[in-house]
């Protein structure tokens, strides 16, 4: 794996700077030499057919994956060497909600709150905001996809990240859950958090987000 020279200075304006990022799964590249720049506070929508590399790109920015070649920085922190700092400030929402079935919604949230040293009060607030206060004491095993995604949104609220990464966040959701997600996105935009959303559906068009099109692992337009 190539190592790039360290990002010289904290580039305060840039939320994401990717240079030549390539990611291989086995022999085939999911991402090929992607360059991308996103400013802080910007809202970006990733468009493209299945297999274009949108999910992979989001996961690399979130540091769930490492680039095979290339590198860059997220919120001023180097992708190769400062991953925990990036993780402290980003949240990734996908259709996999990363919840524990046998724990209640509240317990799932409290787990992260405790791990990250966040006061318990925030958990209650978050549950209120996603309208889950009543169901908070039930095990996630009982929840529908929409309710699980609400918990994930609540977790995001608890984590209070500078940047939100969303991968097809409204697929398969009922109206109530979709509304909650869209609300979160709009609130985040209003609070000047950076947003990167991969989606097929038009989502929060009032955002006026920049569109980045991808195909076959490359960025076609809008980088």
């Amino acid at each position: 794996m190539r190592t790039l020279p360290r990002t010289p200075a904290r580039v305060r304006d840039a939320a994401v700077e990717l240079r030549g990022v390539t990611r291989l799964f086995g022999p085939s590249p999911a991402l090929a030499r992607v360059d991308l720049s996103i400013q802080r506070g910007e809202a970006v929508v990733l468009r493209g057919p299945n297999g274009a590399g949108k999910s992979t790109l989001l996961r690399i920015v979130a540091t769930a994956l490492s680039p095979t070649y290339g590198g860059g920085s997220v919120l001023g922190f180097d992708l190769a060497t400062e991953r925990e700092e990036i993780r402290r400030r980003c949240d990734l929402l996908t259709h996999r909600t990363r919840l524990y079935e046998e724990l209640t919604a509240r317990e799932n949230l409290e787990l992260f709150a405790r791990l990250l040293g966040i006061p318990a009060g925030r958990v209650d607030e978050a549950l209120e905001r996603v309208a889950l206060a009543d169901a908070a004491g039930e095990r996630v095993r009982m929840f529908s996809a929409g309710m699980r995604q609400k918990v994930a949104v609540a977790r995001s609220i608890v984590r209070d990240p500078e940047m939100l990464l969303l991968d097809e966040p409204t697929t398969g959701l009922d109206d109530a859950a979709r509304h909650v997600v869209e609300r979160m996105i709009l609130d985040a935009a209003a609070e000047r958090r950076t947003l990167v959303i991969a989606t097929h559906h038009p989502i929060a068009p009032e955002l006026g987000a920049r569109v980045v099109s991808m195909r076959d692992g490359s960025v076609e337009a809008g980088a």
Partner: protein, 223 residues
């Protein structure tokens, strides 16, 4: 929050899930009992042989149960990609290792207690030095849990073949098996001074593997 604090949060989470899912009770205990009875058929019915091999059978049952318990510890995490949630949390990844090892240790100790009762009944195992015997089990189980929790990450990966996990773990824990059985045998007979050197070996194994595990676990988690 300190690493140990984070580890105990994770251990607590694992134990809560264990208790609610009743996996240990439902699967591990019957499994261990089956193994013991099978050994009984294989080596019996002559009491003299069975009595001589009782400590060994006990530890074999514990060893096999470790494989199952460690895999289970990580199966929980694959439910909805929860392991990625731990990866993306800005916590020390060593805490995940220590937390999981602690949870597996406690589950196995509960199992050992039950199995010990079974073995005393089935094979008439004497318990002349109960404290030393308990010490042997505690130290041994910690070592087994450490190795299992380290490589459990590898076991749950998509393309892993079934047999890889036991194949990795069993040769590595050979010292635990040897020392554990010897110590149990000697403690059963009440030869306290001899037990101590075997306990020392177990303790050394634990220290080495916990330390190495803390150092390398993060590498196993990252992708």
């Amino acid at each position: 929050m300190t690493v140990l604090g984070q580890a105990s949060v994770i251990a607590r989470k694992d134990l809560v899930i264990e208790v609610r899912g009743r996996h240990a009770l439902g699967t591990l205990l019957p499994f261990a009992a089956t193994v013991l009875i099978a050994f009984g058929f294989a080596f019996g019915p002559g009491r003299d042989v069975l009595d001589r091999v009782a400590p060994g059978l006990l530890w074999m049952a514990v060893l096999f149960s470790t494989v199952i318990a460690s895999r289970r510890a990580y199966q929980v995490e694959t439910e909805d990609g929860a392991l990625e949630g731990l990866l993306l949390a800005p916590i020390d990844k060593a805490a995940v290792f220590l937390g999981k090892a602690a949870a597996v240790t406690l589950e196995l100790l509960a199992l050992v207690l039950a199995v010990l009762v079974l073995v005393v009944l089935l094979f008439d195992l004497p318990v002349a030095s109960p404290l030393l015997m308990i010490a042997a089990f505690v130290l041994g189980v910690v070592g087994l849990a450490a190795v299992g929790s380290l490589f459990g990450v590898v076991a749950e990966s998509a393309r892993t073949r079934e047999a890889i996990f036991p194949m990795l773990v069993l040769p590595l824990v050979a010292p635990v098996l040897i020392a554990g059985v010897r110590a149990t045998d000697l403690a059963a007979a009440g030869r306290s001074s001899d037990v101590l050197s075997w306990l020392g070996l177990l303790a050394a194994f634990d220290v080495v593997f916990l330390s190495v595990g803390v150092l390398v676990f993060g590498y196993l988690l990252e992708d």
